[in-house]
């Protein structure tokens, strides 16, 4: 790889150039009902070259490594087409490093049979439960090596290993179909997917609750979000807004996102941290070779930082944060989150619940989206809170609101911070799913629109 990269970089005449090569091996298994519908291994070898000339980017990607030189010339030609008012990348020190993945048991050392048996045991547990008509269970591990070389002297080889399982149980009563789901996954090795029987049992309980549960009555409620859902809230309702690529070329957006602006109560702290080893969002170096790091976005309720690539940092005269990430070697890096979370507060869950007369306890997530001003996300399951107690289950609790108002409406933050990865990930600019982690303690928000 070194030789290819060296040759390519030598031929390129540009303000900045990088070549990224990637080799990966993915093993996937999927049960639908009792049958193992999918099983197989995928090998990917690919690469890309990105070049900046006078502020314009040319990008060329390939799956045939033999095309690397030709591809470099193509990237230069395209960058010249895009060239504009000058290259302005925030300076960084070149990194020369080689990082092996060594966080747990490498899933590639586990036999296909063992993986199958594990997934089957979770799937059988769901299928044998009373009231469950069918189940979906998915296993995936990815072992990936990435080589990054830049014209500034960075030479990084790093490995990523993800292991994850997703389970889903379905209950059906006529045309009423309800699903309980859960996934677990991160970069901590094969151990991550072991001993999850309790969580699988919990899914059975949720699914049975949901098929009997009434729809939530639409309206405004005080809502307690469990740590997983609150993490998605942090990601959707604020994380995307803090990505500098939305802001850096837009004067009105810059004004709106001025550092020092108050965004929430003074006990609200939101961070993005690419340096937490083992998390889905662990990025020792991003795809521009900038070290993953902890970035405070909101401190004591006030906007203090944002997520950058070298270009957005350069143009805004701020410091790069290691958030330029690409889904794989066929994509250019864009500004993305890593591990995004609301920091620990002080209120225990019990006292949070006891303060609510008529509200909702919303747990886990089905999905979330934002247009940066508004957000919407759906909880996987929920309960009513009546007179300070969690009572009966509710289904179809979808929460939405205005980002700027809702952060101010956070009334309590719990003392039980947890981070979550899982099998899914974040989507942006056609690059999905990018592994990220989210987390939070329990939080309470007043006046949330639930429908």
């Amino acid at each position: 790889m070194d030789n290819i990269a060296k040759k390519v970089l030598e031929t390129i005449d540009a303000d900045y150039a990088e070549i990224r090569l990637e080799q990966s091996e993915t093993t996937g298994l999927r049960y639908i009902g009792p049958e193992l519908e999918e099983i197989g291994t995928t090998f990917v070898l690919g690469g890309c070259i990105r070049v900046c000339i006078k502020g314009g980017w040319g990008f060329s990607s390939f799956t045939d490594i033999g095309q690397a030189l030709e591809s470099g010339a193509k990237a230069c030609e395209l960058a010249r087409l895009a060239s504009g008012d000058g290259t302005n990348l925030a300076p960084v020190s070149p990194v020369v490093a080689h990082r092996h993945w060594a966080s747990g048991t490498d899933p590639s050392t586990i036999s296909l049979e063992e993986k199958r048996d594990l997934l089957k045991s979770y799937n059988d547990r769901l299928l044998s439960a009373e009231g469950i008509v069918t189940a979906y269970s998915r296993y995936r591990d990815i072992r990936r090596t990435i080589w990054l070389y830049t014209s500034e002297g960075t030479r990084i080889t790093r490995e990523e290993v993800y292991t994850g399982v997703g389970v889903r149980a379905v209950a059906k009563d006529g045309a009423n179909v309800q699903q309980g789901m859960h996934s677990f996954g991160d970069q901590r090795g094969y151990e991550t997917v072991l001993n999850r029987e309790e969580e699988v049992e919990h899914i059975i309980k949720i699914t049975r609750d949901l098929i009997r549960a009434p729809k939530v009555q639409g309206g405004l409620y005080p809502v307690i979000l469990n740590p997983q859902l609150a993490g998605v809230f942090a990601h959707e309702a604020f994380g995307h807004l803090s990505e500098a690529d939305f802001v850096y070329e837009n004067p009105q957006a810059r004004e709106m996102m001025k550092l020092g602006r108050r965004f929430g109560p003074d006990f609200l702290n939101i961070l993005d941290d690419g340096s937490i080893c083992g998390e889905n969002g662990y990025v020792p170096w991003d795809d521009e070779g900038v070290p993953g790091q902890r970035t405070s976005l909101i401190r004591d309720g006030v906007l203090v930082g944002r997520l950058h690539s070298r270009e957005t940092a350069g143009r805004m005269e701020e410091t790069p944060t290691g958030n330029a990430r690409a889904l794989d070697s066929s994509f250019r890096p864009i500004v993305r989150m890593t591990t995004t979370f609301i920091d620990r507060g002080e209120t225990p869950l019990d006292s949070m619940i006891s303060e609510i007369k008529d509200g909702i306890y919303a747990c886990d997530f089905l999905g979330g989206m934002t247009d940066l001003e508004r957000f919407t996300f759906s909880s996987a399951y929920a309960y009513k809170i009546e007179n300070g107690k969690i009572t009966s289950p509710l289904r179809d609790v979808i929460l939405s609101g205005n980002v700027f108002e809702t952060l101010h409406n956070i009334t309590m933050i719990g003392d039980d911070l947890r981070l979550y990865g899982g099998l899914g990930g974040c989507g942006k600019g056609g690059q999905s799913p990018l592994p990220t982690s989210e987390g939070s303690p329990h939080i309470c928000i007043k006046n949330v629109l639930a429908g």
């Binding site: 639908i32 009902g33 049958e35 193992l36 099983i39 197989g40 291994t41 995928t42 090998f43 990917v44 070898l45 690919g46 314009g56 980017w57 040319g58 990008f59 060329s60 990607s61 390939f62 799956t63 045939d64 095309q67 591809s71 395209l78 087409l81 895009a82 296909l112 049979e113 199958r116 008509v133 069918t134 379905v170 059906k172 045309a175 009423n176 179909v177 309800q178 639409g218 070329e249 837009n250 009105q252 957006a253 709106m256 066929s330 250019r332 089905l366 979330g368 934002t370 940066l372 001003e373 508004r374 957000f375 919407t376 996300f377 759906s378 979808i398 939405s400 205005n402 006046n447 629109l449």
Partner: protein, 432 residues
């Protein structure tokens, strides 16, 4: 190389099928009115599906050095794979359908840059408060499918996609107004997209009073997919076999108002079109709902065998994954109205041009809850301001019972929908 893999597989497993895709894509993107990025991608991949001792196995690769290993891995996985009672089909017929336009293949990034610049400067005039993002991509590729039963077929495809978005930030308000299209042939409609964005931006300046209750709602054709996605899950033959579709046992029953929906892979230059599906079965038109009556699930070879039906040629895949059941182009029959007339006839109601949150509810059951990103209150046939903090919710199947009108023009929207603008007489609107 496809022949090399097949040849090797022949000796190692009972049956084998190789799917190969190669694509060349050019893409140009403008951010906030500036040309930022020009891309060229040449990607290829090979997927190998085998049946060995009656069980399915799979492996795929983009790495030519791994092509020999693929056979081993696929055979190994078949040890654990699902038992199947079908074989890969032999020679099949082509249905004539246009999927390739040489004008897309010849479309250059320089031409794309010119188109982008035109949109940026037009919108700078028409929507001075907005900053324009433009994305134009043109790709061409080849699908080839061969198996040990003697099938060896291929066809070429082109894809042209164009999107223009005006982003208007004003105080704490962020408004995205976009338009675009996705076609199999070169379809440059910059002027149409710009005109529509400018028109909507003008209408969005005024804010509507808070609106709630059960109201008539118009979905423009571009947004109807938010409701149709649930139906596509319901008609998946895999869900019939697995027992979790809400449409099980309802063939012949009226379940979708009076709507006629057809799965049609034979529309020239539509992005879901194909002469044969990704298992090599000759494409055919499938009537899904006829005047609201549910007619058929969609099947691939495997689920058809399990359900005792015939395949509807609905297998779809990319090179790196196993086939699954997908609709091709979804065509809804037209009505007799038009968007202008439906709006003009509304005493009080809502017209929806953009939503947030599609795909997050219990889609399978048909439930939806959509946050209106760009929508307007209509009073006495006139636009009465842009709605904010407003949600529409309901159940897709029940909603179609209230379908009151549809446009006479079928619009090609998104990547696979051919539908009119529609009016539902009664959907639930909530707001804060």
């Amino acid at each position: 190389m496809i022949d090399r893999i097949l040849d090797k597989a022949k000796h190692a497993v009972d049956f084998a099928e190789v799917y190969c895709f190669e694509s060349f894509e050019t893409e140009v993107s403008f951010e906030s009115g500036k040309l930022k990025n020009v891309e060229y991608k040449n990607l290829s991949g090979v997927g190998l599906r085998v049946i060995h001792n009656g069980a399915i196995g799979f492996s795929s690769s983009t790495d030519p050095n791994r092509f020999d290993d693929m056979v081993e891995y696929a055979r190994e996985s078949a040890k654990f794979g699902k038992k199947v009672d079908f074989e890969f089909p032999g020679k099949s017929g082509f249905q004539p359908v246009a999927t390739f336009d040489s004008a897309v293949e010849e479309f250059t990034s320089a031409e794309a840059v010119e188109e982008g610049k035109r949109a940026v400067s037009a919108l700078r005039e028409l929507v001075p408060k907005g900053l324009t993002d433009v994305d134009i991509s043109a790709s061409h590729g080849t699908v080839r499918l061969a198996n040990t039963s003697g099938l060896d077929v291929s066809y070429r495809v082109t894809d042209f996609s164009h999107s223009i978005v005006s982003v208007i930030v004003d105080g704490d308000s962020i408004l995205w107004i976009g338009d675009g299209g996705n076609y199999g042939n070169l379809t440059v409609r910059t002027d149409d997209y710009v005109r529509k964005i400018a028109d909507l931006a003008k209408k969005a300046r005024k804010k509507a009073p808070h609106t709630a209750g059960n109201l008539p709602v118009i979905f423009v054709a571009e947004e109807l997919h938010n409701l149709l996605e649930s139906i596509e899950m319901g008609i998946d033959g895999k869900r019939l076999v697995k027992g979790d579709s809400p449409l099980i046992g309802r063939e012949g029953e009226r379940v979708l108002g009076t709507v006629t929906l057809v799965d049609d892979p034979l529309i020239d230059f539509a992005t879901g079109s194909r002469p044969f599906d990704d298992e090599g079965v000759t494409s055919r038109k499938n009537v899904l709902f006829e005047n609201g009556v549910f007619r058929s699930f969609l099947f691939d070879i495997d689920t058809a065998a399990k359900a005792g039906r015939t395949t509807t040629a609905s297998a779809e895949r990319d090179a790196l994954s196993m086939p699954s059941i997908e609709s091709s182009n979804i065509v809804m029959s037209p009505g007799t109205s038009s968007l202008e007339k439906m709006i003009g006839d509304l005493d009080e109601g809502v017209v929806v041009y953009g939503v947030l949150g599609g795909g997050q509810s219990n889609l399978l059951a048909g439930d939806f809850a959509l946050n209106i990103m760009l929508g307007f209150l209509i009073r006495k046939g006139e636009f009465a301001g842009r709605l904010t903090d407003t949600m529409i919710s309901g159940n897709v199947y029940k909603s179609f019972d209230t379908l009151a009108a549809a446009g006479s023009e079928i619009k090609s929207v998104g990547s696979q929908y051919h539908v009119p603008d529609v009016l539902f007489s009664n959907l639930s609107i909530s707001s804060r």
